[in-house]
Amino acid sequence: MKIHEYQAKALLSEFGIPVPQGKVAATAAEAKKLAAELGGEVAVKAQVYAGGRGKAGGIKVAKTPEEAEKLAGQMLGTRLVTHQTAAEGVPINHVLVEKAMNVKRELYLSIIVDNISRMPVMMASEAGGMEIEEVAQKTPEKILKAYIDPAAGFQAFQGRKLAYGMNLTQAQIKPATTLMTDLYKLFQAKDCSLVEINPLVVTADDNLLALDAKVNFEDNALFRHPDIEKLEDKAQEDPLEVHAHELGVKNYIKMDGNIGCMVNGAGLAMAVMDLITYAGGSPANFLDIGTVNSTDRVVNAFKVFTTDPKVKAIMVNIFGGMARVDTIAQGIIEAHKQLDINLPLVVRLAGTNVAEGKRILADSKIKYIEATDFLDVARKAVAAAKGS
């Protein structure tokens, strides 16, 4: 789960990490008022779930409160398109108004869980302000790492190693080490999947400050952080995905094509998407329907398909293991009873309780195209989507 920069900075601040003075505004008038309160130059920053804001015009500096008002007015209510967003961009409903900083140096600091060592790793670099992946590719030697023993926690010596490694001055070593220790505390306390301060700046008066911050949370751990779950801004997500998730159709990801896909299992769902693409078609979504114990989720998935104006055919491919094929078949019938579905339907069933599932569908009055295997289901779905 993602949150906005202003929320991330509030969290950093809560854990003792210095951030610029600033507040969030929803209107241009509020932005003006905040700028006047802060005094001097301010940065007006679009609050969206995407990186690359600077280049896309989502971060501007205002010399006066009036200018802040004007800039905020230009941003609010529009959509920002960056290299990380879809073509339609993401809505700007809030701007962060912050005291502009005089910056001497731009550094980088982050924590993730490293899949290889299976430990959290803190990464630090002198090459802040850039995308870290670019740094990793061009100058990997500029990224310093400290692996954090989960039992021992982050140690002061690790902080010193990274701080000296970034060529900080002697006076900055201790504050940097404290900042890193606090950052790990946040990472751990809130079950983060990423905390990133980029850039971590050295100000003109030699202090360390988180000028920009990104905090992502591990979805699987949200059950123990109801306070974090509340922070999610659904306006930043695809509306069909939000709709699907509200209906309990998790693991639904909107794509650009016209074949509504219902598959059980993530790997199989990806493989079916691959097959559809190879057959000359294009999936409208990724969906792992998961373990189906009742017909509701199947009905709700059909609701999502019929809400998507792009969908021209629906494809169901189920290989029952945990999921029971007969329940899925009943769900398909239930969906056709409850909803007005006029789209061609291609179905392929296999696995646990398959005979019963096939019989249930065959005995119903639903029109559907039966497929024998998953190459067949992909091809027939592509043909059906083209024909309607």
């Binding site: 990380q84 869980v113 899949n115 290889i116 299976r118 430990m119 959290p120 992946e133 023993d149 989960p150 039992a151 751990q188 079950d191 999947s193 591990e218 979805d219 699987n220 751990a221 059950f223 123990r224 693991n251 990801i253 794509m255 598959v263 059980n264 299992g265 993530a266 790997g267 199989l268 769902a269 990806m270 493989a271 998407m273 691959d274 097959l275 559809i276 693409t277 190879y278 999936p283 990724f286 792992d288 373990t291 114990n293 290989f319 029952g320 293991g321 945990m322 296999a350 696995g351 646990t352 295997d373 998953f374 190459l375």
Partner: protein
């Protein structure tokens, strides 16, 4: 022969009294797996399907000689369940549970260090040695005893691959689902090693997906050590970057974790790439005919 589980497997089920736990315990018993114990704290002394339920694993192991544990415990308690089995000296723990927080798995991996327990999963379908033993949630009837090892990050895509093999008359020695999480207990390399050493496994089907570098690690192992042919498919060639495709570990971050790069690395290491997921069985048939 087979790897990890066979006729000598004595299975304990953690979470045997829950909905999924009890459903799949019955399916395993029907397949012929010897289920010797169940474990649910607070239900010790009762019986489920004629199997004694215990409050602690130590006691269950002592009284039944259980040597494999299958975990169906809900995500919030699953890490604790894996560590309890480890503490009881269980040689093999198979965790089916999906949705365990990564930080919990960091703790589990730390706990497992230096201990003699092998973990498979979490977020996996388990494993099966056809005709002998099933410790998992896969449909037993699609399998056929034979000489092909199968190892996969995906559950249902494995069923597809197995169904293709079986329909061509190509049987399997053991099929292992290592799971879709970013921090799996056993990696491709761990399982490939076992297949490499198993004299009744003649070739291996490996099914990867986007995200991480487990397939690249496997490519290195295959190049350096593998004595048997490996047929590979990697799912997600058409998946968009930056999105988590159902599995917690299936995400392309920037330019890393792409299916194309994984397949290229595996091909360069000497593995045979199945051109589509529908041709995994046929590709193996061609490789065996060589």
């Amino acid at each position: 022969m087979s790897i990890l589980i066979d006729n000598n497997t004595r299975l304990l089920v953690q979470g045997i009294t829950g909905g999924e736990g009890s459903f799949h315990t019955q399916r395993c018993m029907e397949y012929g797996t010897k289920v010797v114990a169940g474990m649910t704290p607070g239900k010790g002394g009762t019986q489920t399907f004629g199997v004694n339920v215990y409050n602690t694993i130590v006691q269950a192991v002592k009284e039944t000689g259980a040597n494999v544990s299958m975990v169906f415990v809900p995500p919030a308690f699953a890490a604790d369940a894996i560590m309890e089995a480890t503490d009881a000296g269980m040689p093999l723990v198979v965790c089916i549970t999906e949705g365990i927080p990564v930080s919990d798995m960091v703790t589990v991996h730390h706990y497992l260090k230096g201990k003699n327990t092998r973990l498979i999963g979490p977020n996996c379908p388990g494993l099966i040695s056809p005709g002998k033993c099933k410790v998992g949630i896969m449909a037993g009837e699609i399998h056929l005893p034979g000489n092909i090892g199968v190892v996969s990050r995906s559950g249902t895509l494995t069923y597809e691959a197995v169904a293709q093999l079986t329909s061509l008359g190509i049987g399997q020695s053991t099929c292992v689902g290592i799971g879709g999480d970013p921090l799996p207990g056993s990696s491709f390399v761990d399982i490939l090693q076992l297949f490499n050493e198993d004299k009744d496994t003649k070739a291996v089907v490996m099914i990867g997906e986007i995200g991480g570098i487990a397939e690249q690690d496997a490519a290195q192992y295959i190049k350096a050590k593998m004595k048997k042919p490996v047929v590979v498919f990697v799912a997600g060639a058409t998946a968009p970057p930056g999105r988590r495709m159902g599995h917690a570990g299936a995400i392309i971050s920037g330019s890393s974790g792409r299916a194309q790069d994984k397949m290229a690395a595996l091909e360069a290491a000497g593995a045979t790439i199945a051109p589509s997921p529908a041709e995994i069985g046929l590709t193996m048939k061609r490789v065996l005919a060589r």
